[in-house]
Symmetry: none
Subunit: 413 residues, 2 copies
């Protein structure tokens, strides 16, 4: 079975000049892998018509599927539309249907479309527009000589919508076998430790095992297999899944693309419990993650962002003597914060986070990365100590993740 050769070109001076970190290419790479494809080549070119033309020429020779991101907007440095049209010896014409669609997006919101929006309706005659659920510029899809080109916007949400809503569906017809995968989402355990616990991945053959780690959302395990018969593929994957669950089952919180936040909220709902959070170094990050889930309002009661000692005392009734004796980053204060939130918010369970995110504020005794998480419910209070080793951002994200992980562990007991 020949593997599909997929090439990705990101377009934009902002990447080459180091102003923008190219997270789009990373996201597309992951999404392809999650769907059983993979990128073979990846490149970046600037907002330079000749460079883009040459890159297209080369990619079109070697790849089956070519994905472009960026350069589809209405300003003068958005060159993808004209360059793609010229490459295919095609021409741009005014598409009144697209123009009206864009105008409607604005008028529905009581707004005038911005100057130059007509530019976006200048569309190549030989291509299909890709619908844009989150913005104005349509994507461009060319099918030529048994190859496909998908030109997507650089704005992440618009690009993502087109990948999930269009591109992945079109890639499906290219598939020559049944590809299937199982997702096992873990939390509270690192990639190396998981790998050690699972042991030689050869034991899972013919199933492929991949580790997809992230800083703040745990490690996702992906088992994948390709074959001719759907039932056989499913059976083989089922065996592999049982093998993995046997080894690391206690860290798995979901067996689908489901977030830890949603899992926690569902469990709270099932118990008819209310939750409150008290955050110091994370500054609202853990609350914000929970509120990111629609419908969180029925179980997430409130959050306290008690960054100052005064806020800890006033809002959470943390004893000043405790703060003076042990410091704000201590097991004692984490406990008092969780208990204060539990009591003051009058909820069933409360979680507290206090830590030294860095880069400054660390000492010999209390180094940067030291974090305490407290968890209070009617049965009492637990406090856990962590020592993270990243920069400020990483430490804060890991702290929020650790808090949600402990909460999930408690709820799944």
């Amino acid at each position: 079975m020949a593997e599909l050769k997929i090439e990705l070109i990101a377009i934009g001076d902002e990447i080459l000049l180091g102003h923008t970190l190219d997270t789009n290419s990373h996201w597309i790479a992951r999404r392809l892998v999650e769907n059983g494809f993979r990128l073979r080549w990846q490149s970046v070119v600037g907002d330079n018509e000749s460079d883009l033309h040459h890159q297209l020429k080369r990619a079109w020779k070697r790849a089956d599927v070519l994905i472009l991101t960026g350069g589809l907007g209405p300003t003068h440095d958005d060159i993808t539309r004209p360059v793609a049209a010229r490459f295919f010896e095609d021409e741009l014409v005014d598409r009144s249907d697209l123009r009206e669609g864009i105008r409607e997006r604005f008028t529905l919101r009581g707004l005038e479309p911005p100057a130059g929006y007509e530019q976006l309706a200048q569309f190549p005659t030989g291509a299909e527009p890709i619908p844009n659920q989150h913005g104005s510029a349509p994507g461009i899809h060319y099918s030529r000589d048994g190859r496909e080109l998908f030109s997507l916007p650089g704005v992440p949400i618009e690009m993502r919508g087109m990948v999930d809503g269009y591109l992945l569906h079109h890639l499906e017809v290219w598939r020559e076998g049944v590809f299937s995968c199982r997702i096992l989402k873990t939390t509270g355990v690192g990639e190396s430790h998981l790998s050690e616990l699972i042991g030689d991945p050869g034991a899972l053959e013919p199933v492929r095992l991949a580790f997809l780690p992230s800083i703040d959302h745990g490690v996702t395990l992906r088992l994948s297999h390709v074959g001719d018969d759907p039932d056989a593929v499913s059976e083989v994957l089922g065996l592999a899944e049982r093998y993995v669950r046997d080894k690391v089952g206690k860290y798995i919180y979901a067996d689908e693309e489901r977030s830890l936040e949603a899992t926690i909220l569902d469990e709270l709902r099932r118990r008819d419990w209310k939750l409150a959070l008290a955050e110091s170094c994370t500054g609202g990050m853990a609350s914000s993650r929970l509120v990111s889930i629609p419908g969180s309002s029925d179980v997430f009661e409130r959050g306290f962002v008690t960054y100052s000692n005064r806020a800890k005392t006033e809002l959470l009734a943390v004893d000043e003597a405790l703060l003076n004796r042990y410091g704000a980053v201590s097991a004692e204060v984490a406990q008092a914060m969780a208990e204060g939130a539990h009591l003051r918010a009058d909820v069933d369970i409360a979680v507290s986070i206090t830590g030294i995110a860095g880069p400054s504020g660390g000492t010999q005794d209390k180094p940067v990365g030291l974090t305490y998480i407290g968890l209070a419910d009617r049965d009492g209070t637990d406090v856990r100590r962590f020592r993270f080793s990243g920069d400020r951002d990483t430490n804060r994200r890991r702290s929020a993740q650790a808090a949600l992980n402990l909460l999930w562990q408690r709820l799944s007991e």
Copy 2:
């Protein structure tokens, strides 16, 4: 004046599979710009000898300077050393000086060198080793036919040490011109509207203008220019900057790579003011953005994540009658939340956010995306109404950005 053509190739399956975000390329791109150079092309290839060979061949034709990162380690999938040697029809020989150097690194720390370390001393005869201050594998520097190739490790700290300690010094002799750019960061205005206000970018020539939009951090403007004389380049850029400031100056909050959060915290510090936030739909996101900046603790006093009506009443003293009459998403409640936070936290300024992030919860009168931001200080309270049109995540991010934008506007009055 010929500008140096620099190409970068990152090597590693982990990037193409979406496991690793390629921050190395981003860092190198920035570092080059900071030193007056810029990347012309950038690409990624996997741990595949033939793909790397082809990429080298192409790059060597078009670039003056070729930078490789990754694939220099001792394992079987580290292919850069043999592929580079083959490309230059060179051979690898055992360099006892390098071997001893590596061994010494370990023995000095009382450690045995790891198995396979001798591999790292297999070095191409026609190349110069690049010293590695932070690890074992030396980099590889080829000078051929008036072109340069620098092959660096993929481990960020080792790569960075070689760029700063070696590569940039070698590029200096190549300098034939000065590339420089100015960054103007805006908030509270969209890309199209900015573009309209600035007008024809041709008026700025020879300076190039680029728009770098993001969902939740405003639009960054970049002015750039290349020339022979640093003073002349600076003067031309200065003229362009004044032109742009004339048109859109009121939206510009920083003229360097500086965040809105940091700008706000500095202004609060200058005034010796304390800040509190009261967030509903954003659920702590705005607080978390401020706390992401080191040292925020001296001005950010606390945040209230008052997602439920009960929390609004208990923590912010929002009148229940108000909630019943106007609903939680209303100008009246936004005002009461801001005033409650101002009073209860006893701070100088307080900002509130209440909105319908979606996807559900919208009505004819109060559609998804409707958001009110309140701002209370000793002079009174302002409330602003917004209507966003994204998904839940986008609406929440735009709400947090709108709140920080209003806060900045108030502080910069």
